[in-house]
């Protein structure tokens, strides 16, 4: 069940929870990720959907948050990481098609692994609970099918 042990997962989860909590206690904001795509697009398109007030109001701190996430992972990589920098061997077409569906789906659902999965469940939202159950079940099913079809890596 846990071939790599449980330690990195528990510590990693605790750090993520502490990061989200710290932002909430200081600013009152829910630090979630997928809205970042829509709010950042508001700089480049005048389409009404992207110019919603809540997107314009949050677009600058969401960029700041994303920058922090990138740098935080970089700091881990140059300090504690046993193997240093990492490059995935997952094929480019999987990243491209998968990424498109992730961007489309998370915005249609108004949440992702962090939005529905962390902040939504933490807010005891049944909407997020249904969303999480759906993306977990479909994600597991899809990954299993690709594995069965012999698509590796």
């Amino acid at each position: 069940m846990f071939p790599l042990g449980t330690f990195p997962y528990i510590i990693g989860g605790a750090l993520i929870g502490i990061g989200v909590s710290y932002i909430y206690v200081t600013t009152g904001l829910h630090a979630t990720q997928s809205s970042f795509f829509s709010t950042t697009l508001s700089f480049f398109t005048k389409r009404p959907y992207f110019q919603q007030k809540q997107y314009l109001d949050s677009r600058s701190w969401r960029i700041t948050f994303a920058a922090g996430v990138i740098l935080g992972a970089f700091i881990y990589t140059i300090t504690l990481s046993p193997e240093g920098f990492f490059t995935t061997s997952v094929q480019w077409w999987r990243l491209a098609i998968g990424g498109f569906l992730v961007g489309f789906g998370t915005r249609l659902s108004k949440g992702c692994t962090s939005g529905h999965g962390i902040s939504g469940l933490a807010s005891l939202s049944t909407t997020s609970l249904y969303a999480v159950a759906t993306f977990l079940a479909v994600g597991i099913g899809t990954a299993m099918v690709f594995q069965a079809l012999g698509v590796t890596p």
Binding site: A14, A31, G72, T88, L121, Y130, F135
Partner: protein
């Protein structure tokens, strides 16, 4: 304003550090979770939700407002068919590629250059959704 950005940024550092520490910045780790070969990410997701749940539900009872002022925002989402259809489409993308929005950002920080293809595609997907389906 600057102070708000400081706290959002330093919280983001913890978030990204935790994602990388927990292995989620590696698409291979995510895929091995979704193939049920290593259930560790369940601990990471559950642990982070638990810590956040304690904060979101207890702190507003102890403090009237956030330390920097303003208000504790409520996260409002109403269940409709798009919640579920969107989550299912996201699930397909997650299962194909092992990427989600937060872990993809962290993956830039671990030096994973190919993830930029995935992030560009996420922007495209978010654009098509907002342009034609919202």
């Amino acid at each position: 304003m600057r102070t708000k950005h400081f706290f959002v940024f330093t919280g983001g550092l913890l978030f990204g550090f935790g994602l990388a520490f927990g292995g989620m910045a590696k698409q291979e780790v995510v895929l091995s979770f979704l193939q049920l070969r290593d259930l560790g990410l369940l601990l990471l997701l559950g642990g982070s939700a638990l810590v956040t749940a304690l904060t979101i539900n207890l702190v507003p009872k102890l403090l009237k407002k956030p330390l920097l002022g303003g208000e504790f925002k409520k996260r409002k989402r109403t269940l409709n068919k798009n919640t579920i259809i969107g989550a299912a489409i996201f699930g397909v993308g997650w299962g194909i590629s092992g990427q989600c929005p937060g872990s993809a950002m962290a993956s830039i920080g671990v030096g994973n250059i190919p993830i930029l293809i995935g992030i560009a595609s996420m922007f495209l997907g978010a654009y098509i959704m907002g342009r034609f389906f919202a």
